[in-house]
């Protein structure tokens, strides 16, 4: 038995962490946060150069043909860096949905574009397709204003709709987590013929959704770990009553309790990603359970570690709130803990 990252996986983690520390530092994250659109245009190409966009894409299409364990590693590092990218959508859900689409030149070209970090394709699950028309508003669509195309999923079938087609109205929404943005996308009665039909299956959609949830869980874990890290650093420096505050049991115990909650989530994440890679039946309850648990733990963690900073923790200037809000977004998107526990229970106790 050997439970943990392999050596190549550790190398991957370290190289992603190094790239993010060098090129996607917190000042850059803050620039995206403070900008009106929230867009960091260059990041997609850079993630492509690093191979981060193509982790789940076949080698002959420019990817590295790795698995969910590696994607989870990337997601966790991106969360730790609060990188301005909806990785779970653009680089997990989209390529995995496409992987389940009908083989062909079109599919290959799309996946190549994603692997290079050239195309941003945004999936919309349960798209409003009815009677041969795409009609209706969809809320909370990640990255919509700068998506090249929407990958509409309905009952397992996929349709690719170029974002420049008339009849698509995009209105940005403002999210508490400024590092990632969502929008409302309204389709006004577009003929389904305007979209390319790409096949697809309910089964591959199901697996892709599990994978995206694993990525969000990993992101929340990374954010919680970073929050703990910076608060522990602060607790070692800040003095009150002529003492380092970390020497007060009240502060020490906050940090210790958060670690005790957060650390095991790492193990559950690895196990769940492994189950996804091994196509284990367990994944149908593990993925929702992991996302519920990881994001719940992350919420508690960031609530507590913010307090370590005292008044500083309530400021925009202190980085803590970035991780606090990051965890909040991860919690609510694609099913929150209560909804996902119900889903897991329905599978586990069927």
């Amino acid at each position: 038995m050997d439970f943990g990252l392999t050596q190549p996986q550790e190398l991957l983690r370290d190289s992603i962490a190094r790239f993010l520390a060098q090129d996607v530092g917190i000042e850059r994250v803050r620039r995206a946060m403070d900008s009106e659109s929230g867009r960091d245009e260059a990041i997609h190409g850079q993630l492509g150069d690093q191979g981060i966009t193509g982790l789940l894409i076949d080698m002959d299409l420019g990817g590295s043909e790795l698995g969910m364990q590696e994607a989870a590693i990337a997601a966790q590092e991106l969360g730790r860096a609060a990188a301005p990218v909806n990785f779970h959508s653009a680089y997990v859900l989209a390529p995995l949905l496409l992987a389940g689409a009908d083989a062909g030149d079109r599919r290959s070209a799309l996946l190549e574009g994603i692997a290079e970090g050239r195309s941003l394709i945004t999936p919309i699950l349960d798209a409003p397709i009815d009677d041969g028309r795409i009609d209706g508003a969809v809320l909370y669509v990640p990255d919509a204003p700068w998506s090249d195309a929407f990958l509409l999923e309905s009952g397992g079938s996929l349709h690719l709709l170029d974002a420049s087609i008339p009849g698509i109205d995009i209105e940005p929404l403002e999210t508490v987590d400024d590092t990632r943005r969502v929008a409302e996308v309204t389709f006004s009665g577009i003929d389904l013929g305007a979209a390319e039909s790409l096949g697809g299956s309910a089964d591959s959609t199901r697996r892709a959704v599990h994978a995206a949830r694993i990525a969000l869980a990993a992101d929340a874990l990374g954010a919680a770990q970073k929050g703990l890290h910076i608060s522990v650093e602060y607790a070692k420096e800040r003095k009150q009553f002529e003492r380092i505050i970390g020497s007060f049991q009240a502060v020490k115990h906050i940090c210790a309790e958060v670690l005790a909650e957060v650390d095991p989530v790492q193990s559950l994440l690895w196990h769940t990603a492994d189950a996804w890679d091994g196509e284990s039946d367990e994944i149908d309850h593990l993925a929702p359970l992991l996302k519920a648990h990881a994001t719940e733990v992350a919420s508690t963690a960031v609530t507590m570690t913010t307090q370590v900073f005292g008044g500083m923790g309530f400021t925009h200037e202190c980085d803590m709130h970035i991780f606090y809000k990051r965890a909040g977004y991860d919690r609510q998107m694609m099913g929150n803990p209560t909804a996902l526990r119900e889903q897991a229970a329905a599978v586990m106790y069927a």
């Binding site: 987590d177 409302e184 009553f241 609530t303 005292g310 609510q332 119900e342």
Partner: protein, 397 residues
């Protein structure tokens, strides 16, 4: 035991209701549903405050010569009024550092001329105050503060810096803890001084908070001159006066009437989303209701202690700790019930209740920290409430 409020208060209830009817044009609702354009909100809040003072519902027990209604202190009457306001979903008026914290302190420690000058405009919402306590090196350890004042003739000359000063830019006045006697002990050398914010030498720099508001500030003092008569209480009595103010801060932060309107708002969301029928949400909601109701009646117990001039002991010390956490947990439930909509913030299309849930979720966390952190509250409860020994002091380095 008698939890009922006698029928002698029925006429007061009638009075409150007719006051609402007569002032319908100005009524400000309580709870998460009120918001919008900030200056319009402020205008309405101040107007409502004036009506409340004129009607005798705000500043109720403050003597008429200071601008209040001059009623005999009657906590039960206050309770009846609170209940009526709550049932009607109407705001009880402005709660801020001036009205809720400074005025009671001034009534207790102030000179007659100070009371006459400062109370009337404060309770009418015309004179806004900020609290100059915390400094970069002095938060939990407030008594280590270093902003200093030196007597020069009949003036104090103040130098130093305050931080995390909420609302300093909107404030006309500040009450501050300032070290006036450098050589006296840590607690003994502090004075409680009031100063107009437009005094030359005061520089206010805004700090943005995690909610996106610039409600925090740094306040710098460079040779700021104020009359020596601006001290409240005696020079050197500042620690006693300042901690008296903090008691009121903890009461203000621990109030439960805003809490109830937020629970009601939660129920609205659960009804709208259909989640009110979900056993999981019901269980969470009812756990919160249990805590809210317990704290509500806990307040009645504290009120009884006050009426009978009894010390509430530990019971009084837990209010801030409990209620700030409770407010946080209520917002968390509402946000969960909104699912993805819960990630939206103020100003966004589709955001519910002006983004008040998201903002107050973060603000409640701020208040778990502000006014004495949760950890400090627990130390106080343990030491003063339960008589446990203090943590050992470290050996001198």
């Amino acid at each position: 035991m008698d939890t009922l409020i006698g029928s002698e208060y029925d006429s007061l209830r009638e009075e409150v209701r007719s006051f609402f009817a007569a002032n319908e044009d100005a009524v400000v609702p309580a709870g998460p549903g009120f918001g919008g354009d900030a200056s319009e909100v402020r205008r309405r809040v101040v107007e409502w405050q004036k009506r409340l003072v004129d009607g005798g519902y705000a500043g109720r027990e403050i003597p008429q010569r200071y601008g209040g209604a001059g009623h005999e202190p009657d906590p039960l009457a206050s309770l009846v009024i609170e209940e009526e306001f709550q049932d009607a979903g109407v705001s009880l008026g402005m709660e801020n550092q001036g009205i809720s914290m400074f005025v009671p302190t001034l009534l207790h420690f102030g000179r007659e001329d100070q009371k006459q000058d400062l109370i009337r405009p404060t309770i009418r919402g015309e004179m806004i105050w900020c609290q100059g306590y915390s400094e970069p090196g002095s938060g939990s350890d407030l008594a280590s503060l270093r902003t200093s004042a030196v007597l020069d003739g009949d003036e104090y000359v103040i130098n130093g810096q305050k931080i995390w000063t909420s609302g300093a830019r909107e404030a006309e006045m500040m009450f501050a803890l300032i070290r006036t006697e450098a050589d006296a002990g840590k607690h003994a050398g502090i004075s409680y001084i009031v100063l107009p914010m437009d005094t030359p030498g005061i520089d206010v720099r805004p700090l943005m908070t995690m909610t996106g508001d610039a409600s925090f500030n740094e306040v710098f003092f460079t040779d700021v001159r104020v009359p020596a008569t601006n001290v409240i209480g005696r020079p050197g009595q500042g620690w006693e006066v300042g901690t008296y103010t903090l008691r009121f801060e903890r009461n203000m932060l621990g109030r439960s009437n805003a809490t109830e309107s937020y629970v009601a708002g939660c129920v609205d969301i659960l009804r709208e989303t259909g989640l009110i029928d979900s056993p999981v949400y019901r269980d969470r909601l009812l756990k919160l209701e249990g805590r809210v109701q317990a704290m509500k009646y806990h307040q009645l117990r504290l009120l009884t202690d006050r009426l009978k001039k009894r010390d509430s002991g530990a019971g009084g010390l837990i209010v801030k700790l409990n209620n700030c956490q409770l407010n946080y947990d209520i917002c968390a439930l509402a946000i969960d019930a909104m699912a993805e909509r819960g990630v939206l913030k103020r100003g966004s299309k589709h955001v519910r209740d002006y983004g008040n849930w998201q903002r107050n979720y973060m603000y409640a966390l701020g208040l778990i920290i502000g006014g004495g952190t949760a950890q400090i509250q627990k130390n106080i409860i343990g030491e003063r409430g339960l008589g446990l020994p203090r943590e050992p002091k470290p050996a001198a380095a």
